[in-house]
Symmetry: C2
Subunit: 250 residues, 2 copies
């Protein structure tokens, strides 16, 4: 039964009958319309919540979420040049939204996923610059950069302010220029801590974009962990084609 209810509502959402922002039936309405108990009505609506299709806005009811991330946004002609790296683009036009960011710096024992990429020995510490970027107060990206403590110690990296020329410039100046980077993009559900930090609605997955930078000697000197809410980003990559079969098998 709950599947049947969810199917009907989901169809209305996906075929446009219930556009983004429109209201779903309330729980009591579902109960009487389908003759089910409240638990069942909640289960049905809960399915759609976990699929990221609707959101509960108490005490108003359930509403269809905006899923612009799945819509097509044509490329401008100025972006025909092949990109040298993926580009994450925020969906809403940034022109009329006020960008802000918070930065804090700490010395930490990084999580294993970070420590392995930095090739830290057991218990070795790292410096992390944690950033949250927001548009009109809504977080749209966290950007945490980790550096081995012995490298970052005493540099501008340790100061919790924006580094005008970029942290990579600082690394160059102290002899740790990066010549290679490995990007890894994974997709998963957020932890509760990440839900808090990014103010995520239930049913919102995230992309985790890790960049590991290496010096010419092959030493990893920097790991960047970007967390991108799935409902607020499209990663775009524009390229001219070298081998005509390269997009056959991704």
């Amino acid at each position: 039964m709950k599947e049947q209810i969810a199917d009907e509502l989901r169809t209305a959402i996906l075929d446009g009958t219930a556009p983004a922002g429109s209201q779903m039936p309330t729980e009591p309405e579902v109960m009487s319309r389908y003759g089910v108990a409240r638990g069942t009505a909640r289960d049905a609506l809960g399915l759609l919540v976990n699929e990221g299709l609707i959101v509960a806005r108490r005490p108003h009811g359930y509403f269809v979420r905006d899923r612009r991330a799945m819509d097509y946004r044509p490329q401008t002609d100025s972006s025909v040049l092949p990109a040298t790296s993926p580009r994450d683009t925020f969906l809403t036009e940034q022109a009329d939204r006020k960008p802000t960011q918070t930065i804090d710096v700490a010395i930490v024992q990084p999580a294993p996923t970070i420590a392995r990429r930095l090739q830290l020995k057991d218990g070795e510490a790292a410096v992390v610059r944690r950033r949250i970027r927001s548009l009109d107060g809504e977080p749209y990206l966290t950007n945490d950069s980790y550096y081995p403590l012995d490298i970052a110690q005493g540099t501008a990296i340790m100061s919790p302010e924006d580094i005008a020329q970029g942290a990579n410039r600082v690394l160059v100046d102290i002899g740790f220029a990066q010549v290679r980077a490995v990007d890894e993009i994974t997709v998963r559900m957020p932890t509760p801590a990440e839900v808090n930090r990014l103010d995520l609605a239930p049913g919102t997955p995230i992309a985790c974009h890790m960049v590991t930078g290496y010096t010419a000697e092959g030493r990893p000197v920097r790991v960047v962990e970007n967390l991108l809410p799935g409902d607020r980003h499209v990663i775009i990559y524009d390229r001219t084609m070298i081998d005509e079969s390269e997009c056959e098998q991704p």
Copy 2:
């Protein structure tokens, strides 16, 4: 209460106390251990299911899922060359797993997301080659390629068999060589149809990787929609660095 129960179990999973494959308490065990009703015990475990951390295997119980997608896999030295496109890598070593694929071809009215990219007029049809790729019978990727009907009509693209030289070769031969492609990667929860097709566990998000190919004249002649289960893929991108600040802001 359910949050408290979920917190304890989640901590055990994330800090390694409960490794992948280990069993979680059953619902009756949670009830007696925390003195709650069954509904609350289910709600607590359900949170972890929706976070993709555990999976219910009836009639055995709940078990910790394998989250290898988040683990580091070092790059081999042979991959130091800059990539010209993102690479999706399947996690498990493919050497000892048998790859299979199913193909079917159909003439359809594609979904709006596809039709817009192909610049189809209202009601115009397209040819779709739908592929499911599996390893040892477990689907790990769907790969659907859409072509305007007037282009694909009567070519090898219409035949539901593997095209040895690749479909792009066919397009070249009939005068529709692609010179540019736009990749778009979005992250979202799957629809029930996608859950079926990819045999996804609850709480598994997917990456949708769309590639739109254009001819020199700027006509889109092909749209590829790859669906990648979040628990079975890491997208890796290895590059030499041109601008030292380019990975600062993703």
